[in-house]
């Protein structure tokens, strides 16, 4: 069974979040090694390891760090993107909850490497308990001399601030996050210039995901060869795969990059209730859905791209044969319409229009041109906005139509009570007064959610 707990290794240890536990299990040893290696040595090591960003884009981490100009006289910053919120993604929250010191040690090493003396963890606001654990761990690290002035006598100083957001999915986009951290509305910036030269406070800034940075101490301590012994040539290392939806044992499965869904499902006890797989997202709702034909796709950056989707955050949402694809796509499109920051017209105006069309189809009031209208709208949104939220909004629609066109074309929905299928939790009075619960549990074959 290809399961390789590294980042998740301490999660089941008693009081795993404390400094005492962390130090007892090799914690802060990598930091000592890193301080000996020097900044350029660390950047070289991380480059050689082939570590790629775990927040979705998969950019080579060492290369990102090497873009930070040196000797420029400006302050440098490291900002951790802990604004986990991509639907299906639930790996960073347990990491921060169970093992906050691994993130903090990674932050200290990375800050030393890019010569930053101020680092921030931009934590999703709703994750209040993660905030407690992180703030307690940061206080412990200061007390032990791992943070603050002259860390372990190295002459290197670092201040680390845990900064809670306030509820906005868009702030997971790195430039929106930076605007938010500067005390503004979280809206993406036009690039270039990139954060590496003009990031936080217009200074050189590295923005990295939680899982990425938490990987660094292990690479420092165990080496490039060990890291590359897992995964594939261009996507090495272990990866936390998050399984949710219609799976027997949902949860976090850390396995080598390139593990397939077939292998993951075997670990997780298969599809719930012995049903058949219908569709799945390889990396959150913004990545195009795949089907049962893709069970053996290697889940790394290249493998998923070859299959026509994206690895994203490896957040695998699993849907069995009972789901109504139109409802799934409508629900996800509502999410993007709600979370669009409003800066770019195609995204701001396009996403609510697409919700309208999808809802109309769902009510059985659409016509055959609606599917083409949706694809046309997606074509006018994709690539025409400042950030990837807009691109992501088109993924469920385009992939849904690609694989399940017939479900979109049906003129009248079958199996759903009229007037029910079109309502949603977002709707107003009708959803409140209607006994939605009884309807969808009644066993209609195309209910989004089925009794379990």
């Amino acid at each position: 069974m290809p399961v390789t707990p590294v980042l998740t290794g301490r999660w089941n240890t008693p009081e795993s979040w404390t400094l005492a536990t962390y130090e007892r299990t090799d914690g802060y040893q990598a930091l000592r090694q890193a301080l000996e290696m020097g900044p350029d040595g660390i950047i070289g090591l991380v480059k050689d390891s082939g570590l790629r960003g775990r927040g979705g884009a998969g950019f080579p981490t060492g290369m990102k760090w090497s873009f930070i100009p040196q000797g420029d006289g400006k302050p440098h910053y490291l900002v951790i993107n802990a604004d986990e919120g991509e639907p299906g993604t639930c790996k960073d929250a347990p990491l921060m909850m169970a093992d906050p010191h691994s993130l903090i040690e990674g932050i200290i090493i990375a800050s030393f490497a890019v010569r930053a003396n101020h680092a921030f963890i931009y934590l999703r606001g709703e994750l209040v308990h993660c905030g407690r654990r992180l703030r307690a761990a940061v206080a412990e690290a200061y007390h032990a001399g791992y943070l603050g002035a002259d860390i372990l006598g190295s002459g290197f100083s670092l201040d680390l601030v845990v900064h809670s957001g306030a509820g906005a999915y868009i702030c997971g986009e790195e430039t929106a996050l930076l605007d938010s951290l500067e005390g503004r509305r979280g809206q993406p910036r036009l690039r270039p210039p990139f954060p590496a030269t003009h990031g936080l406070y217009a200074s050189p800034t590295v923005v990295n995901n939680v899982e990425t940075i938490a990987s660094v101490p292990y690479i420092v301590r165990r080496g490039v060869e060990w890291f590359r012994s897992m995964g594939r040539e261009r996507s090495p290392g272990p990866k936390i795969y998050s399984l949710s939806g219609h799976v027997t044992r949902p949860g976090q499965y850390e396995a080598p990059m390139g593990t397939t869904l077939a292998e993951l499902l075997e670990m997780a006890g298969g599809i719930r209730g012995g049903r058949r797989l219908k569709a799945w997202t390889p990396g959150g709702s913004s990545t195009p859905m795949l089907t049962a034909d893709h069970l053996d796709v290697p889940l790394d950056f290249e493998g998923v791209a070859e299959a026509g989707s994206l690895l994203g955050t490896a957040a695998i949402m699993i849907m069995d044969e009972t789901v109504d694809m139109l409802r799934v796509v409508r629900r996800l499109t509502q999410f993007y319409a709600h979370e669009s920051c409003g800066k770019c017209t195609p995204c701001r105006e396009g996403t609510p229009w697409m919700v309208g069309i999808l809802s109309r189809l769902e009510r059985g009031e659409g016509d055959v041109t609606d599917v083409d209208t949706l694809l046309d709208a997606c074509d006018n949104i994709f690539g025409r906005a400042f950030c990837a939220l807009a691109d992501g909004a088109t993924s469920p629609i385009v992939s849904g139509i690609t694989f399940f066109r017939d479900e979109f074309l049906r003129a009248v929905p079958t199996g759903s009570a009229p007037g029910h299928a079109g309502t949603s939790a977002l709707a107003t009075e009708s959803a409140v007064t209607e006994s939605a619960a009884t309807d969808s549990v009644a066993g209609s074959p195309d209910a989004l959610a089925r009794a379990h």
């Binding site: 999660w11 993604t89 639930c90 306030a166 989004l448």
Partner: protein, 235 residues
């Protein structure tokens, strides 16, 4: 209400976290702080932030209205958030929301007449492997169904504090807002409240089953069975 000296001192603490000359970075935590004073972001709260940071009230309002966690009207004692995004919806999250809405007689972002509960449907809460989830003042109640969700809100309305599946014992919306402003939870044992349950360690348990006896990692992990952490002592 007018801001107290304690609030001004807290604002200075927040501003001090950020680099010199970058005080505007303090705005998000300061909005959480004023929400902790007034139960929502009031006109006075906006004025306070603007004055302390030397920016205009329009600039503060623009930010306060952008983020969903800042409330424009006083929230109830208990903010009940039900995830209705895909992974939760697949397992009945929309049904949980609909049932609570019907049971409480309020819709999204509305508060019960007794002021006890504000209901909202939430977008993905980053706990998809515990679906369907709801939170009460941001503490997790995992794997809920319509019946168990109703029991939770009933208990809240009776003045009880049901125990979250993960997170610290429930605190008030005001207390949670103060923590969001970056201040430590003063309650003993709050940090130790459960953080990780079985789904988080699903892969780890498979690895443990195959770990040779006697290895340090395997032994350390096997000393403890899921759910992983339980309220013992604070860190």
């Amino acid at each position: 209400m007018p801001m107290t000296e304690r609030t001004r001192a807290a604002a200075r603490d927040i501003i001090a976290r950020y680099p010199q000359g970058r005080s505007r970075s303090a705005l998000l935590p300061m909005l959480h702080l004023v929400q902790a004073e007034d139960g929502c972001v009031t006109a006075e709260g906006i004025e306070f932030c603007a004055t302390e940071l030397g920016i205009t009230q329009a600039e503060v309002s623009a930010v306060a209205t952008f983020y969903t966690m800042y409330k424009r009207q006083p929230a109830g004692d208990w903010l009940v958030s039900v995830c209705t995004n895909l992974s939760c919806a697949l397992l009945g999250g929309e049904d949980v929301y609909a049932r609570l809405s019907q049971h409480l007689g309020v819709g999204h972002d509305q508060t019960t007449p007794d002021g006890a509960i504000t209901l909202e449907h939430a977008e993905c809460l980053a706990a998809c492997d515990y679906a369907p989830v709801m939170t009460v003042n941001y503490e997790f109640f995992d794997q809920v169904d319509p019946d168990s969700a109703v029991e939770i809100v009933d208990a809240l309305q009776r003045g009880e504090r049901p125990v979250p599946t993960r997170g610290a014992p429930l605190c008030t919306f005001v207390e949670a807002s103060r923590q969001l402003a970056g201040f430590h939870d003063p309650r003993p044992g709050a940090v130790a409240g459960p953080g990780v349950g079985e789904p988080s360690v699903a892969g780890l348990l498979i690895a443990d089953a195959g770990t040779p006896a006697g290895t340090a990692a395997g032994a350390a992990r096997r000393t403890h069975t899921v759910p992983t952490d339980h309220p013992t002592k604070g860190s």
